[in-house]
Amino acid sequence: MIKLEHIARTFKVGDELVHGLDDVSLDINDGEYISIMGPSGSGKSTLLNAIGLLDKIDAGRYFLDGTDVTELSELEQAGVRREKIGFVFQTFHLIPRLTAAENVALPLTLAGVEHEERKQRVNEALQSLNLTDRAHHRPDQLSGGQRQRVAIARAVVTKPVVILADEPTGNLDHASGIDVINILETLNKQGITLLLVTHDIELGERAHRIIHMMDGKVLS
């Protein structure tokens, strides 16, 4: 489903070129569960951002469901993000002034989904993550684990094909972290492809496939 061919991403820091991604080729099938591991600065986030079309790439080709998405316009890339990709961040990135339900509804609101359908899908998403009784709380009234569950609800409410999670447990205690991973694994079992960046070896080894990275290169 995801096919990367010789992807490169370089950053210019002063006069120096830093290789965020260096000739990365990768094939990811539908419904896979992959963890990406490696030392700090090895390019894990850069890889995830490239796959999520948040970052541009400098060389190589990227096929998503058979289309070369590097060729798409800004507007079309936004459409791909909206329809196929769900992000889960380490720091949640919930909008503080909106309630849990409104945060979950946000991608549907942006996509112009009708009120009725939006409401129904938000309720379903909240229910599947056991957040129904927190629907009208604002992020500052929720625990870290609850916030990350809201963020996951927001990622899945659009029914994406792939979830990109960059250290989703990084800001959580161990128990909440396990909880979040369990939720993500459940989603994966329902068919969503899952890419998980983590420093936690124990969590990383639960994946079906582990990708090791080093200095912008994929090792295995």
């Binding site: 970052d55 936004a78 459409g79 990709i85 990135h93 002034r97 946000l106 942006l110 112009g112």
Partner: protein, 401 residues
């Protein structure tokens, strides 16, 4: 994205930065309110002057000797001193069937005394017609009697404050006052009316035109007021007056006929221009408010970097982010403009209550153009911050780097 969702999203954002939002609304409101108040001041001045002019009397032509060269150019150096207008000319003007009445005006200053009290005042020589043309009446006694225009007669009517100064509480009727070296009998006192067209009728003595000519030792008249029968006949009356005088002055067109309308429209033009410029000056404060909006929205974009990054990650394209931010500035300026409209109209109402004589009235164009300018400054100055927000790199925005 549905438009109601866009508006709701913007409102949410504005609500969560309350102080800033209120300050912006205030700036916009002050801008709009000052446009309304200043233009209402200008428009009030225009209406006031117009009213003053119509109290001059209606269907009025003012004839003055000499042709005024309104087209510019050098005045003739040799010869062609304009012929004076005489009382005979005035009588001749009366012949036109479009003319209802004429009143000659002879003016000058002279000392007026009664017993030990003396005042230097303006002397107005005219006829009985003057009172009806200028729509002035006496509060006591009578106006100058009708009589042959060229006859002098020692009778006069005093302005109200002149009468007070000379006679105090005594009755002036039938008393003789001294005007320079002449004497005349007081037959009436004008109403306590005050100013009319810049002339203080209170400080004035009115006598027969022929008497005033004798007093000042002249044969001419200063002005002639000609009243036409109706508005429609003004042009005909003007033509008649000009041709009558041409006939009498050996074929020379040596008079100028002004109509009240011409004066009025000149003043109207000047004061309308004044109103526009006041509005323009006030609009500068709208511009300032617009720049404030730009500033605030730039700060908002900087503060909400991660939010913008998130919106992009959730699939919002550039133009949607521009739309969201523009809607925020549009809401600010629209609500600010509405508030300003309320403040302005309220201020107007208060001014009207405190100065009931002065017609404060904001012209309609000022109302809608203030709102339009407010909205467009909001949008124009909102565009830069909106594009700035839309151009943010989502990766940097989300990593907080």
């Amino acid at each position: 994205m549905h438009i109601d969702d866009v508006i709701q999203f913007s409102f949410h954002a504005l609500q969560s930065y309350r102080t800033r939002t209120y300050l912006m609304l205030l700036a916009m409101a002050i801008g709009v309110a000052s446009v309304i108040l200043l233009t209402s001041l200008g428009e009030g001045a225009r209406i006031y002057v117009t009213q003053q002019f119509s109290s001059l009397g209606t269907n009025l032509l003012i004839v003055l000797p000499g042709r005024s060269e309104t087209t510019g150019g050098m005045p003739p150096i040799m010869g062609e001193t304009p012929r004076d207008l005489t009382l005979q000319d005035v009588m001749a003007m009366q012949r036109s069937r479009h003319v209802k009445q004429v009143a000659p005006i002879v003016v000058g200053a002279a000392p007026v005394s009664y017993q030990q009290l003396e005042r230097e005042v303006m002397i107005m020589g005219s006829t009985a017609n003057f009172f009806s043309v200028r729509q002035v009446t006496t509060s006591r006694g009578q106006i100058l009697p009708e009589m042959e225009i060229s006859r002098a007669s020692p009778e006069c009517v005093l302005g109200y404050s002149l009468y007070k100064e000379l006679f105090g509480s005594l009755s002036p009727l039938g008393k003789w006052v001294r005007v320079s070296e002449y004497r005349c009998r007081v037959i009436g006192v004008l109403e306590e009316e005050g100013m009319s067209m810049g002339m203080d009728m209170g400080e004035m003595l009115i006598m027969h035109a022929a008497s005033a000519q004798a007093l000042f030792n002249v044969n001419s008249v200063f002005r002639v007021l000609v009243e036409a029968h109706s508005q429609d006949e003004m042009d005909k009356a003007r033509e008649d007056v000009i041709s009558i005088i041409r006939e009498r002055h050996d074929g020379e067109d040596d008079i100028t006929v002004l109509s009240q309308d011409a004066l009025l429209s000149t003043f109207n033009r000047i004061l309308t221009a004044l109103t526009y410029s006041l509005g323009g000056i006030a609009a500068i404060s709208l511009l300032v408010a617009g720049i404030m909006i730009m500033n605030v929205m730039l700060v908002a974009a900087a503060q909400r970097t991660t939010e913008i990054g998130l919106l992009k990650a959730l699939g919002a394209p550039r133009k949607q982010i521009i739309l969201l931010f523009l809607t925020e500035s549009a809401c600010l300026s629209l609500i600010g403009a509405m508030l300003g409209l309320c403040f302005g109209l309220l201020g107007n109402w208060i001014l009207q209550r405190y100065f009931p004589d002065f017609p404060f009235q904001a012209p309609d164009w000022a109302l809608w153009s203030a709102v339009a300018v407010a909205l467009s400054t909001g949008l124009i100055f909102g565009l830069l911050p909106a594009r700035h927000a839309a151009d943010l790199d989502p990766v940097l925005a989300l990593s907080g780097r």
